[in-house]
Amino acid sequence: MNGESGPADRHAIVCRGLRHAFGDKVAVDGVDLDVAEGEIFGLLGPNGAGKTTTIRLITTLLPARPGMVEVFGLDVARHRMAVRRAIGYLPQQLSADAALTGRENVGLFARLFDVPRRQRGERVEEVLAAVGLADAAERRAQTYSGGMIRRLELAQALVSAPRLLILDEPTIGLDPVARDGVWERIQEVRRATGMTVLVTTHYMDEADQHCGRIALMHRGRVQALGTPSELKSGLEPGATLEEVFRAYTGDRLDEPGDGFRDARRTRRTAGRLG
């Protein structure tokens, strides 16, 4: 993919014919995506549409074949370590360690990302302040509210100063105030650093408000792609993003089949948030 696509090096992510199957169930079936550097790109779709699988291919958690995904011009299949260095990743589940304090949680990831020892302390304090947790840094994460845990995880993902932040359902199970809080922090950091953000979400209003461009996924494929207003005006004047979503995916938000595992995981996350 070098050579013929010159603009690719200004892209944070380039997917070509991205495909992955679990056994004989094809989860991602030929996805083409270009995410430009510095944009907030939303991946929308019903449960089981292939969003999380796409993310796991980009983050090297699932093996991609050469030529399928490039992150900042690096083929994910060949340069896994370099790609991991460039990425901050926030999984769908609540994954902060409840038994550790906020500072310890972030410090662990500073070490895992080999932030140089001398900068480590400073860097940890910086990101804790950036997500508004400086005052709570000494408390254990189990005393945090759902929104605070999410922001703590955001700090973990940001501590390595990633060029690409990948968020899988970052606001799932949060109340509207906490959701806004998480998004505000993401926006602030992006404005300050120019990092690229790839996000999946179920919340249409969030996608509408925060994403520069959106890809609608369904049955492992990208069904529609564009800015929120392009997508809305493409359907009919005055349409909401929710209506666009329904038009492309059918009426039901839930797919039969693999939905259970997905729903269970989502519910567990929501349950732990209380």
Partner: protein
């Protein structure tokens, strides 16, 4: 990883206390009873002295063999995915976890050794030997926790790991020299004992702690090789868990 484990232990000490109960019961009830009936010939060494290093190794085994459950829990919680997206190599993650389990075992070893001393077991006073005990316990726990993580990578679920763990714990324990000399065993069990790293761990601990004749270089060699093999196997399978 080790540091994290220490941080957690500092925050929550209840686990340390509750985990010390089982080996204490082994020493007190099993040890005292069998000392009295003298059913197991251990030469000039009192049975309780003979038993104490065995119980130390056993408690480390019990901590380690279910360590994989933590990995599966971390998989379910999304933590493992987050760890695997960092540039830290798999082998380093596994080694960290293995030695974190070792740290836990050491904390428990302290409890067991204090109790042993109270019961009158003649433990060594040589600091170099104590250092050797630390190394052996760490290596033994590292191997068995890697074994557990390897099984986790194959079994993929908590229930299956629990089942397999329980199925292999007792053969590992009874098929070793932890409770009785290998010479007392039937031939087939002796064979098991000779390929069982736990036997080498116990042999080394007994040699270091109460000065029975042992094969320290061989024991150390076996444990180092076993731990390295365990780390290699577990890190090769770690990625499977998040697919």
């Amino acid at each position: 990883m080790c540091i994290v484990e220490l941080q957690k232990m500092r925050h929550d000490r209840t686990e340390l206390y509750t985990r010390a109960i089982q080996p204490a019961l082994w020493l007190l009830i099993f040890g005292e009873t069998f000392s009295r009936i003298r059913a197991i010939p251990t030469g000039k060494v009192p049975y309780l002295d003979y038993l104490a290093p065995g119980i130390l190794a056993q408690s480390a085994l019990f901590i380690a063999i279910f360590y994989g459950i933590q990995i599966i829990w971390e998989r379910d919680a999304g933590v493992l995915a987050k760890l695997l997206v960092t540039p830290t190599p798999r082998a380093a993650l596994v080694t960290g976890k293995a030695f974190a389990a070792g740290v836990r075992s050491l904390a428990q070893a302290v409890a067991i050794l204090v109790l042993s001393a109270l019961l009158g077991v003649a433990l060594t006073l040589n600091p170099l030997r104590w250092l050797g005990v630390v190394v052996i316990v760490m290596l033994g726990t590292a191997f068995f926790s890697c074994l557990s993580m390897t099984i986790a990578g194959l079994a993929m679920s908590r229930d299956r790991l629990m089942g397999i763990g329980q199925a292999i714990t007792m053969p590992l324990f009874f098929g070793s020299n932890a409770l009785y000399p290998v010479g007392l065993m039937p031939g087939w069990l002796q064979a098991i004992s000779h390929v069982n790293p736990l036997s080498y761990e116990v042999d080394a601990l007994r040699n270091l702690l109460i000065g029975t004749p042992g094969h320290l270089p061989l024991d150390l060699g076996v444990l180092v090789v076993a731990a390295i093999a365990g780390i290699a196997a577990a890190s090769a399978l770690l990625g499977r868990l998040v697919r």
